[in-house]
Symmetry: T
Subunit: 164 residues, 12 copies
């Protein structure tokens, strides 16, 4: 089946470039949701319960954003791809180690993961501005949410009870 | 971090064997959820809307069962693994082609996928009966749900308006 | 239309035997729901309101279980049959008299009806154990609910204020 | 137990005639609910999911209307009767074949069944107008709902994509 | 303030006659709600709880119908009157004795009260049919509900455990 | 496509006459909903907020009734028509001026509009009584609601604080 | 039936005095609810809608408090009395005129009515403090709510747009 | 761990005396909840269903009040104690016999139990008034609820159908 | 009434140009909602039910967006106009034929209608970017939703069961 | 009152043995709920809030399971016993110290308590398998939930931030 | 505008003194809500998430109590004042430092803040008892809630894992 | 504690400038919420109820936007400051007079306040466009909501019943 199934509201160049941006974003978000669940199950430590619950919020948000992004790809005429092998092959999100993970390690890992994903999102926002304002607005709103979650993860990582 | 973090209610052999059963099941279910979403986005054809909605029910069920199975693994003292690369590497679920897919092709694909997964679930139920009744009961309940979805997919695949 | 429409997860003997068990159960449960409604409308006596409400709970449960059982039959590849004539012809549930019924008579009737249905359910659980653990688990769960309702009906039937 | 248990707001002739109208209606509606469920379980074909869901709406409406009608019979002093044998013996609704049914066959069957039931309802409305306006109003409201469902079933039956 | 404030959709005779019908109905329904609450508080006996709860349903229905009737009066251009003295002076509903009341006495009293109110409602339906079909339809629907409650009260009053 | 698509429960004359009544009603109600929204956006004055909110209730009711009427037309075998040009061409509802409107002017306008629509509804109820009681009942219920809203609009229009 | 049906937690003098306080309060609150509904239906003027809605809040609160008070009377062993004739005969709440009432007149009337009821409530709180702290606390909480409503009614009565 | 963990808003004497009052109340309420559940399971007789449901309301209320009281103890700086042995050792609530209990016996038992608990609550209210108004207010509110439940239990116990 | 009633946050040129953009958008969206309802009632064919339901989602979205757009016009100081004659005269949305419409025809019609409306929306987004970023953002968000619906309509239109 | 009040679906030996299993389970679960509440009130430490909330989930689950188990005992014809003295005397759950408890101590205590209860549950599952599959299934489901909670408690106990 | 706008239920001295008490309380509660939000945003440390959530509960409670207190002031005839400058000038609540705050520092700060506010509330309760029991009751209920929150904050502050 | 606690997704200049914009916005929104509540409590006049309710919507919106803005500041690495003294010192929102305020005065005051805040928001949107598109988008969405509220306030201020 060819991509001409869905007529794009963008011209062919726009369709193609927007498709790339959205496909990259989709892979990052799906992988974030898989890693969020992975840590939800394997985290241990005194902060287990609060991190376990927080990770489910991260997963819910990542799934919701992934759905929005994939359906935006379809709407611009590009079939999205978030099959396991594609996600494993294309993701730029740092991977968790297997086995049990301490709560400190989980928070630290996601602080780094969010920083990397946010960096790429900001690059995509800039590129999208030259292609399609509708796609750009969607990326901006997802980034706003990711940066809010990033702040909360960093806030948890700050040293307890120190005076700074 | 060693697996001795969580004390298993099973003996070491039971823990290990239950861990294998649950890990296999987890990978199948997570992949089913990823493939369900993939088809949710890429299906086309006159039955688009009904298949699109049905796939979201399949995804919701697969995610719920995956969570139950992963937390059961943790409860028997085994850290589950559903990272993208693990799912891509270990899954036994038939993979979808990339790009747009007709509604007929999607239904047909999932009829096959469910048949394969159900076959493996029934094998695991038998093995679990020799290891841990609690794990077995959980696998039985998931299988009941998968077989119900399998019937509904097959019912859609039956030839329309023929007399048989 | 042949039964080969839906591929059974069981072998042919299992499919056939499970189909018999499920069809018998379906008829009992549908008849229980019809008799529950009949008494819901025709009961009179000082306990009218509480029995009238209780019967709606009985009807709701019977309808829910009937749906589960019929869909399980479909899932094992057997078309269920709960048409009025089939239910009237195959039911083993004791029938209510026509016309108005006293509350005592209604409670007494359902105590007996539940006892009979439970007896048959326990026999089916045993037979199902040799055929299909998934079907057996479903029958066990329905029986648990029927035995709970049976206790509540019997508890209402006990003599008031006597010392025993 | 005599029917004098519940004092009728109608005179004896009115009570008796209203009782007949309501009893006939009750049997039709209960049978419609049983046939709706039967087809809900046994339908196959590409429209399986949408017909399966629509049938549950038909069943819910038929059950609700049956309850209203049976309680109206009690309110006019007549004990209703919707036991399986009564329904099987008195129903005028066309019966479904056993086994699996194609979606086309199911829609076609219910188009006919609704036409028959609506014809009888309109006759009852006329007779009720000479007996009891309260009963008539209730029959009018149920008929309005049945005729709405009849339109939707017929609309589905219309040839697809033809120019007429 | 004159009644010409609200222009009636009826002619002057219709307005006046409909106003009388609705005002009479309003007083009966408000008094039913006050007596329902009175018995809700003063009933005693082994059936206290079930009668206490049933009376709240009677009160809720009476209040709802009273509101509908009073707003219908306003809609036909007649100011309704349900002040305490008006209700006390115009009601035709049998009054409860003061003090504690046995459950048997309460049920018996409301059986009689409903019979009287229903008799008047049926007379009003007939008169309304010559004046205004909209008002008549409203009275028919309220009567249907009152007759349903009347059946339930009578059903409770029937002798327990007797064979008839 | 011919009207024979949906078989009418009425004879051909009844179908045709009921179709006219329902089509007229549909146009009035859809126009009422459009004018209600128009005033919802353009009203100004000290009573802005309360009128703005009341108009949304008017719009919601008009939309609901329009849907009921259009589906009733379909149910009697007549395809309804509420396209913008049809509504603009056939409506009998007085039109609002463009631009901002004072709250007094809006209330006054809708008092007149409701009076006109109600007059036509009462005429249709009479005609429907000779054709189809089901359609008549539906028109009666909509008229009851319109007359209630008419009273509320008139009540707002009454002079404040004057002694009449 | 004697009042000894319910054993009072208070001694006989306390029971009797608390009974008087609660009976007086009950009559005031029930009458407030009847007058609130009366004005809800008969108010006219530019503030119709907001006063109409506010009166329903007043009615809901008065009904809720009346229920609490009547059940408190029962709890201290005194059968409450809120029959229409009792309310009409014992109420100290100023009565509304019959017929349509301007919004200004309604607000003004309820400002006065609340002032009178609050005055009596404060007297009862003082008397209750010498009898039963539980009854007193209940009266205090009802008074807090009445005084809040009184403020809101007075606030509406203040001259608009004047500089004071 | 010493009680100085939580700084009391009361002085040391107040803290100690309030702690005693609250601890006594806690034990009574927890035991009431345990006995309520015990009777919920073991009651038999024609009033089984209504008493069974009423007991769950008693249990819910007792658990809620117990939680409030225990957290009030913590808030005044005293660690509460509701361990099984403490409840069994300190309770003043009359104990139920083991085995099945008739509905009459259950109602009678709880009438007595409530009378005893209410007597102690009223004594505690008086003592609390000299120590801490906040604690006293909380005890007053719980007593109001217990006395309401006591009335309902007594009302059920009154002889049915007798003329007194 | 002059447009100076509402002070615009934009200068006069901006107010005027934004007003044009928003008025055009409003007309398109209101017409989309009217046509969506028209097809909701007149569609026939095997896909009736799914298209009938989908059209209600289209109508809900169009109404919601129309409301947002009209209130934005008011907020920039321009009175919106969505009266029937205005919509009929200014709409650029392709019109449906009268009478019954096949499901294929309906889907095809809305695919075209959405393409046209989206084209105009994208033009307006560009113009709005030079006038008012707040208005532009609103148009972008509506366009995102329209393009998502457009994809779903096109996906339904794709040939069933063909291989590409 | 003899146990013959409720006819058991099991034979006398089965009834007696199932009764023992269920009574033991009931005591453990009720004690778990009492200890959960005790720690909910007395826990202190930096993890206070998260442990306080988690304990309420533990209490809710224990209460729900206890209710299921007690009603199962009744359903097999054995009156359950969960009075305070019985629980205190028969419990096998380790008891908490009185007074304030650190969060670490609470988590540690419940890790041990769950391990003990789970050990006994697994023994009961085995014994129940020889008596009654319905009872066994119920015990299996409760054990699955307890083992899930046990994992979460152990996960919290793992050393923070250590590398293992 | 003079304070005579709202007629006080208290005499002039009572009105004035109650006004002072309520104004002081209002300022404390509004400042507590502002400081709660401030810390909600600026807290960092391993307990970030749990403290962040707890602070929102503190803010919700403070806002609710502030609203109650301000409306009570109005009800006693005194215009409340919670403008920013008034709050900043009159507050007695200790102020937070600007910038990021560790979780330990936040908990410690609110422990002190609650202690101060509770001290003032208890003084006001005493003064209110001489003026107005209705106002006093309201202050008592707010204090009960503040003291509960104070306990929870102190419990979090207790040393972790120490033996005391 | 230094601002380096939270790593900004912006460079240092962007972080600093965005911080200024967000801090200014936060102060305006918090002050709007405090003034909204102030007027909610002190407004008097015939429009009291509608303005009182509208102000709560204004407060809810202002609080929600303030929270979004403060968390955005944190997300860009700047600790927000909305303590009472900061708000009082930095706010640019016009202040309300103390004491009772007429409804006209309140509406007039908020019309001016919104105009001022909107003017500043539009300036900030422009500045944000040069710094951070994510922050800009957030400011645009808040401005859209403020401008909608501004229209509604102005609409209320328009002269009633005048012909313009």
């Amino acid at each position: 089946m060819t991509t001409s199934q869905i007529r794009s509201p963008l011209d062919e160049v726009g369709r193609s470039e927007a498709g790339v941006l959205l496909q990259e974003t989709l892979v990052d978000l799906v992988d974030l949701s898989l890693l969020g669940k992975q840590a939800h199950w394997t985290v241990v430590g005194p902060r287990f319960r609060t991190v376990h619950l927080q990770l489910d919020e991260i997963v819910d948000a990542a799934r919701l954003h992934a759905d929005t992004v994939a359906e935006r790809a379809a709407a611009v005429g590009v079939a999205p791809d978030a099959r396991a092998a594609t996600v494993a092959g294309q993701t730029g999100v740092p991977q968790l180690a297997e086995g049990w993970l301490t709560d400190d390690a989980v928070v630290s890992h996601f602080v780094d993961a969010y920083a990397k994903v946010i960096g790429r999102m900001r690059d995509r926002i800039e590129r999208a501005g030259r292609i399609d304002l509708v796609t750009q607005d969607l990326l901006i709103q997802i980034t706003a949410d990711l940066e809010k979650q990033s702040w909360m993860l960093q806030a948890e990582q700050a040293a307890a009870g120190t005076g700074n």
